[in-house]
């Protein structure tokens, strides 16, 4: 009984230890897995994220007028596991530290993260292709010289002809 009295008096003196949310700020630990942010300029549409997504939240599909690819991620199936960020070769998809995810039922199907990759024509044959992101070249090569840059503007068939003859 006396040990409880010591705890009781200590509790009364120290005051409440409650987090002040929602009336104030709260702490956010570093590396918290929150909502997704997608950078279309760094994406090479390898579809690795779509393959490993645990909740099946990612869809990459061609738009109806065939001018590019659109990236749709629906947060209401995302399990915030981070596998897409882990396997993306260019780190085009990242998890931010934003945890404010509560929303009303009428916004349920609008709670998405969208992106659009526009096709660029190949420099020699003109077929539309996904542009090569500079991050991909940095991952593959140590220093990127002018030859590599010229090659990166060709589609895969023209590149094969140019390199292998």
């Amino acid at each position: 009984m006396s040990s409880f009295l010591k705890i009781a008096i200590r509790n009364l003196l120290k005051g409440p230890s409650t987090d002040t949310y929602p009336y104030g700020e709260t702490f956010v630990p570093k590396g918290l897995r929150g909502k997704i942010k997608y950078n279309a300029k760094a994406c090479v549409a390898c579809r690795m994220c779509e393959h490993v997504c645990a909740g099946g939240a990612i869809q990459i599909r061609e738009v109806s007028d065939k001018s590019g690819l659109e990236f749709i991620l629906w947060h209401n199936t995302c399990a915030f596991c981070g596998l897409c960020e882990h396997y993306c070769p260019t780190k085009a998809i990242r998890l931010t530290e934003d945890y404010h995810t509560a929303h009303r039922q009428e916004d349920k199907y609008r709670y998405v993260e969208k992106g659009f990759i526009k096709y660029v024509p190949c420099a020699s044959c003109g077929t539309p292709m996904v542009p090569t992101a500079p991050e991909l070249l940095n991952v593959a090569y140590d220093n990127v010289n002018k030859d590599i840059e010229r090659l990166s503007k060709l589609c895969s068939k023209c590149r094969k002809e140019k390199v292998c003859g």
């Binding site: 409440p16 230890s17 409650t18 987090d19 949310y21 929602p22 009336y23 709260t26 918290l32 645990a54 909740g55 099946g56 629906w74 947060h75 209401n76 199936t77 995302c78 399990a79 915030f80 596991c81 945890y99 404010h100 995810t101 509560a102 929303h103 009303r104 039922q105 349920k108 709670y111």
Partner: protein
């Protein structure tokens, strides 16, 4: 007069949890927001009540498995109006990581009218408190 009663009565919503086949991750987070002093939910006037007849805000976790579906629907009918339904975690909203399983009967809003969604696997206690605050705003208009 009715507005005055609405304003007073919205400060005491009572919470009730329904576990519709969940993995218990979201239930652990719900227990955290209620029991430990760090995320005290009694400041908002809330209280976890044991009986569905005393409930105002219903917190549902878990994908609706085929075995539990009939019981959850019967239990939902026993909760007196006015009430607000909050779906916690991604499982009740869309099936979550279990969406292709043979045991799941589908997202909960095919059977029950849901008002607030809190995605996350599991969502942070602060996000759950966000969802409860949003639900209180909706509940005030229905009192």
């Amino acid at each position: 007069m009715k507005k005055l009663l609405q304003k007073i009565a919205k400060k005491s919503p009572w919470l009730y949890r329904i576990n519709a086949g969940s993995c218990n991750g979201c239930d652990v987070e719900l227990a955290t927001t209620a029991c430990i002093p760090r995320y005290d939910v009694e400041r908002l006037g809330c209280k976890y009540c044991g009986s569905p007849k005393h409930a105002d805000i219903v917190l549902i976790t878990g994908p609706l498995t085929a075995r539990v579906k009939e019981k959850v629907l019967r239990l939902y009918d026993e909760i007196p109006d006015p009430k607000v339904t909050v779906a916690i975690g991604v499982c009740p909203i869309s099936g979550g990581v279990f969406r292709d399983s043979y045991a799941i009967t589908g997202p909960i809003d095919n059977f029950i009218p849901v008002d607030v969604n809190v995605p996350g696997c599991p969502p942070r206690p602060q996000a759950i408190i966000d969802g409860i605050v949003e639900a209180i705003k909706i509940w005030e208009t229905r009192l």
